[in-house]
């Protein structure tokens, strides 16, 4: 009985210490890195990055330890218009020849109600690293029908192009970009 108690104690401690690790489901394309920016101030232009990778950790008993790392292949920018995408890849915007990757690495997470919260972290884009706040919405989590466990979030951040030294940023309202990252992680 004593042994069993000790065993239970150890397992519960180790359970606290080790958070669940989730790999972002890019293989099944259940994750999206999207952005929207105003065109002429008249409408929203949506685009996305087709190639990226990342993982996050979440521990239900200590959500403040939640963290995420993501890397985005800037070459994969896709706004459904080949000529515009070519311009977006040039040094007027993403400068992919010099900076083929953009990344986000979280530094802290404060969970509010219903699993939502704010995640702070460092976003590296166009070679410039800035701290940004992501407004995180918990979408859902649990068992999937194929024997795995999944957990999904959507995060929104507002960026100013000029803060990332993007050459064609014009200032004012036209340079405010909304980044929308929607992820589903598969528990490892």
């Amino acid at each position: 009985m004593k042994k069993l108690l000790i065993l239970l104690l150890i397992s519960s401690i180790s359970g606290v210490a080790v958070a669940d690790k989730y790999k972002i489901d890019t293989k099944g394309a259940h994750a999206f890195v999207q952005f929207k920016i105003k065109h002429l101030g008249y409408s929203w232009l949506y685009g996305r990055f087709d190639s990226f990778d990342g993982e996050f950790e979440y521990d239900e008993s200590d959500p403040s330890k939640a963290n995420i790392q993501m890397t985005v292949d800037t070459n994969s920018v896709n706004s459904n218009h080949a000529a515009r995408d070519k311009h977006l890849r040039s040094d007027d915007f993403l400068n992919v020849a010099s900076f083929p990757a953009a990344s986000f690495s979280s530094t802290s997470f404060s969970e509010g109600e219903n699993g939502n919260g704010t995640m702070k972290g460092n976003l590296t884009l166009n070679g410039v690293t800035k701290e940004v706040d992501l407004d995180v919405t918990f979408v859902g989590g649990g068992k999937d029908p194929w024997g795995g466990t999944r957990r999904g979030y959507e995060a929104v951040a507002e960026l100013k192009l000029s803060e990332f030294n993007i050459k064609k940023s014009v200032g004012g309202a036209y340079e405010e970009l909304t980044l929308i990252v929607s992820v589903e992680g598969i528990k490892q």
């Binding site: 994969s76 920018v77 218009h81 080949a82 000529a83 995408d85 070519k86 890849r89 992919v96 020849a97």
Partner: protein, 179 residues
Amino acid sequence: MNKPLFSQKHSLTTRLLHWICALLVVSLFISGWFMVELDYYSSWYQTLPELHIFGGTLLLMLWAWVILRLFLVKNTLPELLHRRSEAFLARWIKRSFYLLIITILICGYLMATADGLPRNLFGTINLPPLYQFSAVQIDTMGWIHQNFSYVLMVFVCLHMLGALKHHYIDQDPTLKRML
């Protein structure tokens, strides 16, 4: 003795093709140069690239004809007594014209249709896409399209200098044959 040699000209088709293509090549270079520098809010931002692609398509058809004529139409004009080094230079510059222009045109066409959808010009012409390309492929074609054009312009200048030299210094009919 020299008289008939001086009065002979290239065929009308050759001369027309030469000057139309020359005009197109130079205007395409200038329009290409300008259109990438245009401000987004310029009223030319939409029309100049469309005109550039239209001109390029026209040149592509004419240039295909020019290349076909290399194999199908024999030059019957008597050889002018040029220096061997000059003939050699002229021949290689001409060969590089054929190669550079066709490469630039093909890259341009493939880039204009890289969405994998027909490229519409002026609401009437549809350029059919041949293939949908990846980002890296499109950027590589863009690099070739731009840098080959600079090289082409250097060769165009050499070609023009050569023609003027024959006309004014050597005073031979090289240029007159093409007029």
